[in-house]
C-alpha cells in the first residue's frame, strides 16, 4: 500500500516536474549551453538567443493610475568574435516632459566555462551607461564584462511607462537564431488592445483570465468641533486577460537585396490601444478599423483644422491661377508655387508641427505642412483634391489598422477625363 502510494506520488512528481521543464530561470545556465560551439540549426550564426521572455503588466498606484511595466529576460549565447556586440544591450526610453519612461537593468551575468567549471562575472555599475540622446529620447546601455567566444550572457531589464497608447513591439525573430521566444501580456478589462502579428512564423497563443483587485485608500475628515479622520478602503475587482505568445526555433532574418524592408517579414507582435472602458466613463475608441484610424487622424488638431485653413494664401493663390482654365495647367501652377515657396525641413509625419500658417510665413515646413497646404490650395482653386495618408518603406507595411501604419501624407487630385 505504502509503496503504491509512493510510486503514485513519484509518478505525479515526475509528471509535474516534466510539465514545468520549460520553466526558465535566470542564473541557471547549463554546461551543455556553454560547451556548444555552433548553433545546431544555423552553423554560420555568430550568436543566438537561447531564451527570451517578456511580460507586460499594468500596475496600479494611487498617485499615478495605471502604469505599464514590461520586464524582459534574455539569455544570449556568443559563438564567435563577430557576435560580441550581442553582449551589449541598448534600450531606448522617452524622456519628454510628460509621460517619462524609465529603464533599469538587473541580474546581468556573463557565464564562462573555465576548466570544466562554470565561472560567473556580474555586471557592475561601471558597465551601465545612461545617455541623453536628445530632448525627447534617452538610452540605457550595458556592456557585459568578460565576454569570450562561447560565453553565455544573461540579463533582465524593466521598462516603466505611462505611455499606454501602444505596447512595445515584441520581435520573435531577429538577425540571429532565436531558440525560444515567449511574450505574455496581462491586460486589465479596462483596456482593449488590437494585436497585430507580422511575419511567416505564427506563435502559439493561449489565453487565460485572472481575477485581480485594486485597493484604493481614501481619507475622510468629519466633525465640526473635533475632527476625526476615517480611512476607508475600497476594493475594486476586475478581470485581467493573460495572453501568452510562444514561438520556438526561429531562424535568423538577414538583410537581403531587393527586399523593401526586412522588418516587414520579421515575425513580431505589436499591440495598439483600440479602446478604453473605465467604470463610470464612456467607452473611448482609438482605432479599430481603417475608417476609425482615418477619422482619428483627421479630427486631430494638427491635421483636419490645418487642412481647412485657407485665408493665409488666398490672395497669393488668386494671382497664381488667374487666366488658367485647363485643369492640368492649374495643378501644375499650384504645385510649382508650393514647391518654390516652402522648403522641406527633412521631417516626415502626417501631423503639422508649427502649423500651415507659420510654415507659409517662414517658408519652411514638414511633410504634413507642405502637403496639407498643397491640398488646401488645390481645393480653393476649384479642384477635387484630398490629402492621402501613406507609409514610407522604412515605416513598413501594416496588415492591421492602426495609427502607426502611416507616417507621411501627400495630396491627390481627382481629374475628369475628357
Amino acid at each position: 500500500m505504502k509503496t503504491k502510494n509512493l510510486i503514485l506520488f513519484l509518478f505525479l512528481f515526475l509528471f509535474f516536474f516534466n510539465a514545468n521543464a520549460q520553466e526558465f530561470k535566470l542564473g541557471k545556465v547549463s554546461i551543455a549551453e556553454l560547451e556548444q560551439k555552433v548553433h545546431p540549426k544555423d552553423t554560420a550564426a555568430v550568436a543566438a538567443i537561447l531564451f527570451k521572455k517578456g511580460e507586460t503588466r499594468f500596475e496600479y498606484s494611487q498617485g499615478k493610475g495605471f502604469e505599464m511595466v514590461t520586464k524582459v529576460k534574455i539569455r544570449v549565447k556568443i559563438y564567435k568574435k563577430e557576435g560580441y556586440d550581442w553582449a551589449n544591450q541598448s534600450v531606448q526610453y522617452y524622456l519628454g516632459n510628460d509621460l517619462k519612461e524609465s529603464v533599469s537593468f538587473s541580474d546581468a551575468i556573463t557565464f564562462n566555462l573555465v576548466g570544466g567549471k562554470i565561472e560567473k562575472t556580474k555586471l557592475k555599475s561601471d558597465g551601465e551607461f545612461d545617455e541623453k540622446t536628445d530632448k525627447y529620447w534617452g538610452r540605457k546601455k550595458i556592456a557585459m564584462p568578460n565576454v569570450k567566444e562561447g560565453s553565455v550572457v544573461e540579463f533582465e531589464y524593466a521598462i516603466r511607462s505611462a505611455r499606454i497608447g501602444e505596447l512595445k513591439e515584441w520581435f520573435f525573430q531577429t538577425s540571429i537564431p532565436v531558440d525560444h521566444s515567449e511574450f505574455i501580456t496581462y491586460i486589465p478589462e479596462y483596456f482593449v488592445y488590437n494585436p497585430n502579428q507580422k511575419g511567416f512564423v505564427v506563435p502559439k497563443v493561449t489565453v487565460v483570465k485572472n481575477q485581480k483587485t485594486i485597493s484604493i485608500m481614501s481619507k475622510e475628515r468629519t466633525g465640526f468641533t473635533t475632527s476625526k479622520t476615517t480611512y476607508s478602503e475600497d476594493k475594486i475587482d476586475y478581470s485581467e486577460t493573460q495572453t501568452t505568445y510562444l514561438a520556438e526555433n526561429l531562424p535568423a532574418m538577414k538583410e537581403e537585396a531587393f527586399v523593401n524592408n526586412i522588418d516587414n517579414y520579421t515575425s513580431s507582435v505589436s499591440h495598439e490601444l483600440a479602446m478604453t472602458n473605465f467604470p463610470n466613463s464612456p467607452t473611448e475608441l482609438y482605432s479599430t478599423d481603417w475608417e476609425s484610424v482615418a477619422k482619428k487622424i483627421y479630427y486631430n488638431d494638427d491635421f483636419g483644422p490645418e487642412l481647412n485653413k485657407t485665408v493665409y494664401f488666398e490672395d497669393d493663390l488668386k494671382a497664381i491661377v488667374t487666366g488658367l482654365a485647363k485643369q492640368d495647367e492649374i495643378i501644375l501652377a499650384v504645385l510649382n508655387y508650393v514647391k518654390s515657396t516652402v522648403k522641406w525641413n527633412e521631417y516626415n509625419g502626417y501631423s503639422c508641427n508649427d502649423g500651415v500658417k507659420k510654415a507659409y510665413k517662414d517658408k519652411t515646413g514638414n511633410v504634413a505642412e507642405i502637403n496639407l497646404m498643397l491640398a488646401a490650395m488645390l481645393r480653393t482653386a476649384g479642384l477635387k483634391a484630398n490629402p492621402v495618408l501613406v507609409s514610407t518603406r522604412a515605416n513598413g507595411i501594416s496588415i492591421f489598422p492602426n495609427r502607426g501604419a502611416f507616417n507621411y501624407v501627400i495630396a491627390a487630385v481627382e481629374t475628369v477625363q475628357v
Binding site: K81, Y84, N88, E131, K135, A143, V147, E149
Partner: protein
C-alpha cells in the same frame, strides 16, 4: 484732435518700420568678387577666432563665422556647431541668417540649436556632446552669421588655425588673435603658407595675430596628398598646460613623454595577483621577449573586445588595467595599456605609443610638441627597432600594422621620456599578390578556371578578412572583384590564413558561360581573366596638387590557358614592356603549342610623391596599362 493724433501715430509708425528690418549691407552677396565665387560652393566672408588664455588652467575662445552659402553643396561650410563637455561648456551660441541682399530673415537663439550626445558608431558611451544648428535653407544664396563662446580649463588643446579646411570653399577674410601671458611658454608653427595670402600681423611676447585674405577655392584632384599637407595651417601650443585636473610642463617630446608617463599613465597598470600568476604560467619557460609577447598578444586577442567608453579624463587617460582584466573590454588606450601591464608581469618592456590611426598616413609633428594623435598602440623594443602591436584587433597577426598605422611618425612614450619614431614601412616589393592558375575555353566560349592567389604585405590587409565571410558575402565580394567576367559562377573557394608569415591564400574555382564572344567563325575574348584593372585615371587639366601614391605594390600573374579544339590562333596580343618612374608593367604570352598558351603579367607600382606636372605622364602610363589589360585574343574556327 483726431488729426494730430493720426499724425503722431503715423510718425511713430514710420520710425518703427524703418528700424524693423536691419540691413547688413556687408553681407550682401552681390558684392562678392567673382574670383572668390569661382569653384566655390560657399564663401567664408569672415572667420574671426579670438583665443584668450588667461592662465595655465583657463582658456576662452570666441568664434565669429560668416559664411555665404551659394548652393546645396556648400551647406557643410557653415560649421555652426560646438563640441563640449563638463569641463568645457558653451557659454553662448547664436546664429543669424540673411538673405541674398543682406536682409535678416531669421534669428536662432541657443534654445533653438540642437543638443545631442556625441556618440558615434564605435563609441558605446561618451560624455562629449555637441550643439549644432539645424537650418533648412529657403533659397540660395544666403548668409549665416554664427557666433559662439566657449571656455575650458583644458589648455592642453589649443585648436589649430586652418583658415581653409575643405575643397570648393573660398575665404574672403580669416583672422586669428591669440593672447597669452608670457610665462606659459606659448609657441606656434605655420605650415604650407606659400601660394596663399597669409600674413602675421602681430607677434609679441603676449600676442599673436594672423590674417588670411582672398584665399580662392581649391578643386579636389584625385591622388592628392592630404589637406593637412596642402592647405595653410598654424599649430598652437603651450609649454605649461592643463588637462582634466592635471598640470603639465613640457618643451621637448622627451619631456612630454615623461609628463604623460608620470602624470597620466602612473598607477594604471596594476593587476590582480591571480592574473599575474596566470600569465606567468601561460608564458612558461619561454625566455625570448618577442616570443613571450606573442603568447600574451594572443591571450589579449582571445580574451578582450573593443568598446569605446570616454568619460572625463577617461577621454585621455587609459582605463585601469585591472578593470580591463575584469570587464574584458576597452578602447585603444585601455587595451594597449592592459597588454603592457601583462607584459610587465613577465618582464617584457613595452611602451604606450600615440599616433594618428588612418589609412591616410598622418605624422605626429616632430618639431611641434603638443597633444596630438587619435589612437594608441603598443611598442615593444626588438634590438634596435620596435614591434608595434594593434591591441584593439582580435584578428591581426602579431606586429602587423596593415594600412592603419604603417609608415608614419609616432610618439613612443617611455618612462624616462618620449621619442618620435617611424612605424614599419611596408616596402613595395613586399606588398605582393602572386597568382597562379589555369583556365580553358570551350568551343562554345564557356570559361572554366582555377586560381590560387597569395597576398602579402599591405595587400594582405585587403584580403585576410575574407575567410570570415558568409556564403552570400563571398559571392558578392568575388563578383565585384572579377566584375569584368559576365555570368560568373563561383564553384568553390577556400582560404588559408598564415598569420605567422602574414600571408593569405585564396583558392577559387570559377566558371562563366559565353566568356568568349563568337561571331561568324571567329571567337574573341580578353586574355587577362583574373586581374582586371578596374579604376581609370582621369585627365586633369592644369593640375595644381602634387601626385601621391601612398603605397606601392607588385602583382605577378602566371596563367595557363587551354584554347578550344578546332580553333586556331588568328591574333595574339603582342608582348608589352613599360618602364617609367612610376613603376613597371610587363605582359608576355608564350605559345606552348597550337592550343595552349601561357599568360604572364607583372605590374609594379611604386610608392612616390611627384609634382603636379608629372600627373599627365602618370595618367598616360596607367592608360596604356588599362588598354593592354583588356588585350583580346582572336581565334578562327578551323
Amino acid at each position: 484732435m483726431s488729426y494730430k493724433f493720426v499724425s503722431v501715430i503715423s510718425i511713430v509708425f514710420l520710425f518703427t518700420t524703418t528700424l524693423l528690418f536691419a540691413q547688413k549691407s556687408e553681407y550682401n552677396t552681390l558684392t562678392i568678387s567673382d574670383s572668390l565665387k569661382e569653384n566655390a560652393n560657399a564663401v567664408v566672408r569672415l572667420n574671426q577666432i579670438d583665443i584668450v588664455i588667461a592662465s595655465q588652467r583657463s582658456m576662452n575662445i570666441k568664434n565669429k563665422r560668416v559664411v555665404t552659402v551659394l548652393n546645396e553643396k556648400g551647406l557643410d561650410a557653415v560649421e555652426a556647431y560646438e563640441n563640449y563637455d563638463k569641463s568645457g561648456p558653451v557659454k553662448s551660441i547664436l546664429a543669424t541668417v540673411y538673405d541674398a541682399f543682406g536682409k535678416e530673415i531669421k534669428k536662432i537663439k541657443r534654445s533653438d540649436f540642437r543638443d545631442q550626445s556625441a556618440v558615434s558608431g564605435s563609441t558605446l558611451f561618451s560624455e562629449s556632446r555637441y550643439i549644432y544648428l539645424d537650418y533648412t535653407p529657403i533659397q540660395y544664396p544666403f548668409t549665416v552669421v554664427f557666433e559662439s563662446e566657449t571656455e575650458t580649463s583644458n589648455t592642453a588643446f589649443i585648436p589649430q588655425w586652418m583658415p581653409l579646411n575643405d575643397y570648393f570653399v573660398s575665404v574672403e577674410k580669416s583672422i586669428l588673435n591669440v593672447s597669452c601671458p608670457s610665462s606659459l611658454g606659448f609657441k606656434y608653427k605655420g605650415f604650407n603658407f606659400s601660394n596663399f595670402n597669409i600674413k602675421k600681423t602681430v607677434d609679441t611676447s603676449t600676442q599673436l595675430s594672423y590674417t588670411a585674405l582672398k584665399v580662392f577655392a581649391q578643386k579636389e584632384e584625385t591622388a592628392s596628398p592630404s589637406i593637412s599637407t596642402l592647405f595653410p595651417r598654424v599649430m598652437l601650443g603651450l609649454e605649461l598646460f592643463h588637462l582634466e585636473g592635471v598640470d603639465g610642463n613640457a618643451k621637448t617630446w622627451a619631456e612630454f613623454g615623461k609628463w604623460y608617463s608620470e602624470k597620466i599613465l602612473t598607477g594604471t597598470t596594476d593587476l590582480p595577483e591571480v592574473t599575474k600568476a596566470k600569465i606567468k604560467v601561460l608564458v612558461g619557460a619561454e625566455t625570448d621577449p618577442i616570443k613571450k609577447a606573442q603568447i600574451i598578444y594572443k591571450y589579449v586577442q582571445e580574451k578582450s573586445r573593443y568598446i569605446s567608453v570616454q568619460v572625463g579624463i577617461g577621454g585621455w587617460k587609459p582605463m585601469l588595467a585591472s578593470d580591463v582584466d575584469r570587464l574584458g573590454y576597452g578602447d585603444c588606450k585601455a587595451l594597449s595599456n592592459y597588454t603592457k601591464a601583462l607584459l610587465n608581469a613577465v618582464d617584457v618592456p613595452s611602451y604606450n605609443t600615440v599616433l594618428y590611426g588612418n589609412p591616410r598616413k598622418r605624422d605626429i609633428e616632430t618639431d611641434f610638441v603638443s597633444m596630438q594623435g587619435n589612437h594608441m598602440i603598443l611598442a615593444i623594443p626588438n634590438q634596435d627597432k620596435y614591434v608595434f602591436l594593434e591591441c584593439t584587433s582580435q584578428v591581426d597577426p602579431f606586429g602587423y600594422q596593415g594600412t592603419f598605422t604603417d609608415d608614419r611618425d609616432v610618439l613612443v612614450i617611455k618612462p624616462d621620456g618620449g621619442e618620435i619614431v617611424r612605424t614599419k614601412i611596408y616596402e613595395d616589393s613586399g606588398n605582393t599578390q602572386i597568382s597562379k592558375g589555369t583556365y580553358s575555353i570551350s568551343e562554345n566560349g564557356d570559361l572554366s578556371g582555377k586560381i590560387g592567389i597569395v597576398s602579402e604585405g599591405s595587400q594582405y590587409n585587403q584580403k585576410f578578412h575574407n575567410d570570415k565571410f558568409s556564403a552570400t558575402e563571398i559571392d558578392k565580394f568575388y563578383k565585384d572583384y572579377w566584375s569584368t567576367i559576365n555570368n560568373l559562377k563561383i564553384k568553390k573557394i577556400t582560404f588559408k590564413n598564415d598569420s605567422d608569415k602574414i600571408s593569405f591564400t585564396e583558392n577559387a574555382e570559377i566558371s562563366a558561360v559565353n566568356y568568349g564572344n563568337i561571331s561568324a567563325n571567329k571567337m574573341m575574348f580578353v586574355v587577362n581573366v583574373f586581374n582586371p584593372l578596374t579604376q581609370s585615371v582621369k585627365r586633369i587639366r592644369n593640375r595644381k596638387n602634387p601626385l601621391e601614391i601612398q603605397r606601392g605594390s607588385v602583382d605577378i600573374d602566371e596563367i595557363e590557358i587551354a584554347l578550344p579544339a578546332n580553333f586556331s590562333i588568328e591574333f595574339l596580343p603582342g608582348n608589352v614592356e613599360l618602364n617609367s618612374k612610376f613603376g613597371e608593367y610587363k605582359t608576355e604570352i608564350v605559345k606552348k603549342d597550337n592550343n595552349n598558351i601561357i599568360y604572364k603579367r607583372k605590374f609594379f607600382l611604386k610608392k612616390g610623391l611627384y609634382t603636379n606636372k608629372e600627373y599627365d605622364e602618370f595618367r598616360l602610363f596607367m592608360e596604356q596599362i588599362s588598354r593592354n589589360n583588356n588585350a583580346k585574343i582572336i581565334l578562327t574556327k578551323s
